[in-house]
């Protein structure tokens, strides 16, 4: 072995030994799953670091951006704090998600974890309504289940509400029920298509691009149209959902909200 290589190995070994002696063992992410950095100040510090280091891809409020997904409605690839820490620290291999700056300490990464968790937490609130009554209203007087599924039961013409409690708070649910036209995601717009023979097909906007449209009509039939094969088409951005909240009594509305807010992923 050349002397230079021998010297390199020896020096490296010495340096490694020195590091072992002088550097306190850094806690592994997995060991810090129940980490300590969860105070309001930690969350604010985490928010600041997120805005600086992550906001360009994920949006300044983590609501999603040009490159990065929305981080306020659960995470795509992790289910634990340690997993989230690992992705923020090291990135996702072979993808555009790179790790946070090496200059950021583990402590500050945990603060980002806490900040993101704070965006995904549903507040523990005492609601006036009765969720059991609300479940009966959902299938009964409210007629919600004719369009919405919960855990595989119900209609297809509205959003699946099996985990709606994780993404909408009680005030938002009340607004959804009373003023459904106020905030209609483009997926739930309506496309009204006039074919060459003048007949009309109308349905929920499942997909639309420069060249084509895909819709579901009121009978839950799926349709696909090339835009250049139809006479015309029109986007209707109003909701197809009735203002159910206005047809219920105040206490019934509370019950329905309590039920909807209880719909979460079942704890494993």
């Amino acid at each position: 072995m050349p002397m230079r290589s021998l010297w390199t190995i020896t020096a490296t070994a010495l340096l490694a030994s020195l590091c072992l002696i002088t550097t306190p063992a850094a806690p592994r992410a997995q060991e810090l799953n129940a980490h300590e950095f969860t105070t309001p100040l930690d969350i604010r510090m985490g928010e600041r670091l997120f805005q600086q280091q992550c906001g360009r891809c994920h949006g300044i409020d983590a609501g999603g951006g040009e490159l990065g997904p929305d981080l306020t409605s659960g995470y795509r690839t992790v289910s634990t704090d340690a997993g989230l820490f690992d992705i923020i620290r090291n990135g996702l291999p072979n993808s555009q998600m790179i790790g946070i700056s090496r200059a950021s300490t583990d402590q500050s990464v945990w603060m980002v974890v806490s900040y993101l968790n704070s965006l995904n937490e549903t507040p523990d609130v005492n609601l006036p309504g009765n969720a059991t009554n609300g479940e009966q209203l959902f299938a009964g007087k409210g007629n919600c289940s004719s369009c919405h599924m919960v855990n595989g039961q119900g209609g297809r013409r509205g959003q699946d509400l099996s985990r709606v409690g994780e993404r909408r708070d009680p005030d938002e649910l009340r607004s959804d029920l009373q003023n459904p036209d106020e905030e209609v995601p483009p997926r739930w717009w309506t496309l009204r298509v006039t074919r060459q023979d003048g007949s009309v097909v109308q349905g929920l906007r499942m997909g639309e691009d420069t060249f084509s449209m895909r819709i579901m009509d009121a009978d839950e039939n799926l349709w696909s149209f090339a835009k250049d094969s139809v006479q015309s088409y029109e986007r209707i951005t109003a909701s197809t959902m009735p203002a159910t909240g206005r047809t219920l009594t105040s206490s019934e509305l509370d019950d329905l909200i309590a039920y909807l807010y209880s719909l979460r992923r079942e704890e494993s």
């Binding site: 360009r56 949006g59 993808s95 555009q96 420069t210 250049d228």
Partner: protein, 544 residues
């Protein structure tokens, strides 16, 4: 610097063997011949090749091939696909030389494949450190070639020279310290025997520059700072010491006029991006077009599109050069659709402002004055609470290539009519950390906004036609002698329009976002059209 110098000069002096005969039988002649400077200057004369990022030194992104034209484009069919082994969306524009295609990949790799089959000759994987500072993805947009050598930027802010026949590394030059936030993503530009290259890092408080390196040795020939130092009067356009961390990166490939010996290069946003309070002044030469002497790097003129930018509207667009008659006089022009949503025609000899009009939705300016300087609208600056402004951070357009057709004399740009809420934050500079001073957020779901390809008359700035893209596009554009405009969309459609009328002629769903520009070449007499979608490079040709 690691340097394994080869006798590049000998190769340049060798008798050039131009593109293979168009009617030759496959396998009858060897592929690839050295690319001399003369070949690059006259690249338009060999349309069977695509010899640089923008096709030609004037960056028109125009192919002289016309075998595929506006009457038969509907017969295009897939010939081959090359799968990039990384998941990142590709931003590459391949280079093709005499039947060999060079494709760059994330993070900083390049492969050579047979341009007729997509099958690999060799691969070069660049070793990267694990402490990269990059703002916006592990991107690489392409290579430059001179002689037998490829030149590529790498994410650790190096410029590497690679043997085009074997993939072996020839030299590896560090252009800046990646730990301070510098990186490199753009294809270099060959100018005579030099490799001209920019730098990225505008979100990390770098000080930008454009560099030129000796192609044979990798030694730096000149550096043009994009922020003047304190010995220059224009340094006064930066408050205090803000010039030291003022960004003004140069992260897209420029153009070159051999007759004027001028290199044209765009510069990026001043930093911190959204908080201009700490850098009051025009912040020269951020958000500008620079005209640099091709031999010395000295600045001949500049034109600043967005003085004191606080919305991150980089002037990082490929400058398109063309000569046109205006008011009875032939003018050497530069065409530029800027991220700030205004289109400009400049005189490229002098930098004189000739034409300027909005080409996409904008609410930030009441117009341009007679010198092309924007007249700002009130109350359109970022605030702590957020302020809605058009165009959004991504701009009325962005870095992806526009195109020009000498046949239609129209300029084609991917325009976006959007908006963002702009926020301002206080932020301290820490070397190697992002230094942006705020951020942005869309006020509405993205489906509420859309793109359009707009064909602009460079003499007037008027929009001649537009083709709406639903939902939107971040793809570059290629025009051809077959009077076609090729481009793509974020949902993976690749399409061809009639260059004269804007009529849609052909489309195919490639399944993932097209985030780069198409290019075209010919092998064995057959025209091919290539584009990357997602992490796959697709190549099309007419049905046999």
């Amino acid at each position: 610097m690691q340097r394994l110098t080869i006798g590049l000069a000998l190769l340049i002096a060798a008798v050039p063997v131009h593109g293979q005969e168009s009617e030759s039988t496959p396998g009858s002649t060897p592929l690839f011949s050295p690319v001399t400077w003369e070949r690059l200057v006259n690249a338009a004369d060999e349309p069977e090749n695509w010899l640089m990022y923008s096709g030609t030194l004037d960056s028109q992104h125009y192919s002289g091939l016309d075998q595929v034209h506006n009457r038969n484009v509907g017969e295009l069919e897939l010939k081959w696909a090359y799968q990039i082994p990384q998941l990142d969306r590709s931003e590459t524009v391949p280079v093709v030389v005499d039947g060999v295609m060079f494709i760059t990949e994330a993070p900083s790799n390049v492969v050579a494949v047979d341009a007729e089959t997509g099958l690999q000759y060799w691969r070069y994987n660049h070793e990267l450190p694990d402490d990269l500072r990059i703002c916006c993805g592990r991107n690489n947009r392409g290579v430059a070639i001179l002689g037998d050598t490829l030149y590529m930027s790498t994410l650790d802010a190096h410029l590497v020279a690679i043997d085009a026949r074997s993939g072996n590394l020839l030299w590896n030059a560090e252009t800046a310290d990646h730990r301070a936030g510098y990186s490199k993503t753009a294809a270099p530009l060959i100018v005579k025997d030099q490799v001209v290259t920019g730098i990225a890092g505008g979100e990390f408080g770098i000080r930008g520059f454009v560099d030129s390196y000796d192609a044979a040795s990798g030694d730096r020939a000149w550096r043009a700072w994009t922020i003047p130092g304190p010995d220059h009067p224009d340094n006064q356009t930066w408050a205090g010491d803000s010039w030291r961390t003022g960004g003004s990166a140069s992260w897209i490939t420029g153009s070159y006029d051999p007759d004027l010996d001028l290199v044209y290069w765009g510069t990026g946003n001043p930093g911190p991006d959204w908080n201009g309070d700490v850098r009051l002044g025009d912040n020269l030469y951020s958000d500008s077009a620079l005209a640099l002497n091709g031999t010395t790097g000295n600045m001949e003129w500049y034109f600043q599109f967005t003085p004191w930018d606080v919305h991150d509207w980089d002037a990082i667009q490929v400058p398109i050069l063309a000569d046109l008659e205006i008011d009875g006089e032939m003018r050497k022009l530069m065409m530029w659709a800027n991220r700030n949503a205004f289109y400009y025609t400049l005189d490229r000899e002098t930098g004189e402002f000739l034409v300027g009009k909005p080409f996409a939705k904008q609410t930030w300016a009441e117009g341009l004055d007679s010198n092309g300087r924007p007249i700002r609208a009130p109350n359109k600056l970022p605030t702590p609470e957020g302020n809605i402004v058009s165009p959004p951070v991504g701009g009325g357009t962005n870095w992806f290539s526009p195109a020009y057709s000498p046949r239609t004399e129209l300029f084609y740009v991917q325009a976006y009519d959007g908006e963002d809420i702009f926020y301002k934050r206080d932020e301290d500079y820490v070397e190697g950390d992002q230094f942006t001073g705020g951020g942005s957020q869309r006020p509405l779901p993205i489906e509420n906004y859309q793109s359009a390809i707009r064909a602009i008359d460079p003499r007037t700035g008027d929009i001649r036609w537009e083709y709406e893209i639903q939902p939107r596009s971040t793809a570059g554009i290629m025009t051809t002698a077959g009077d076609l405009v090729f481009s793509g969309s974020v949902d993976g459609f690749f399409y061809a329009l009639d260059a004269v009328s804007g009529e849609e002629l052909w489309h195919i769903n490639l399944g993932r976002r097209i985030h780069t520009a198409p290019m075209s070449y010919s092998v064995n007499g057959k025209q091919h059209v290539t584009v990357a979608a997602g992490n796959v490079v697709y190549t099309f040709a007419l049905n046999e």
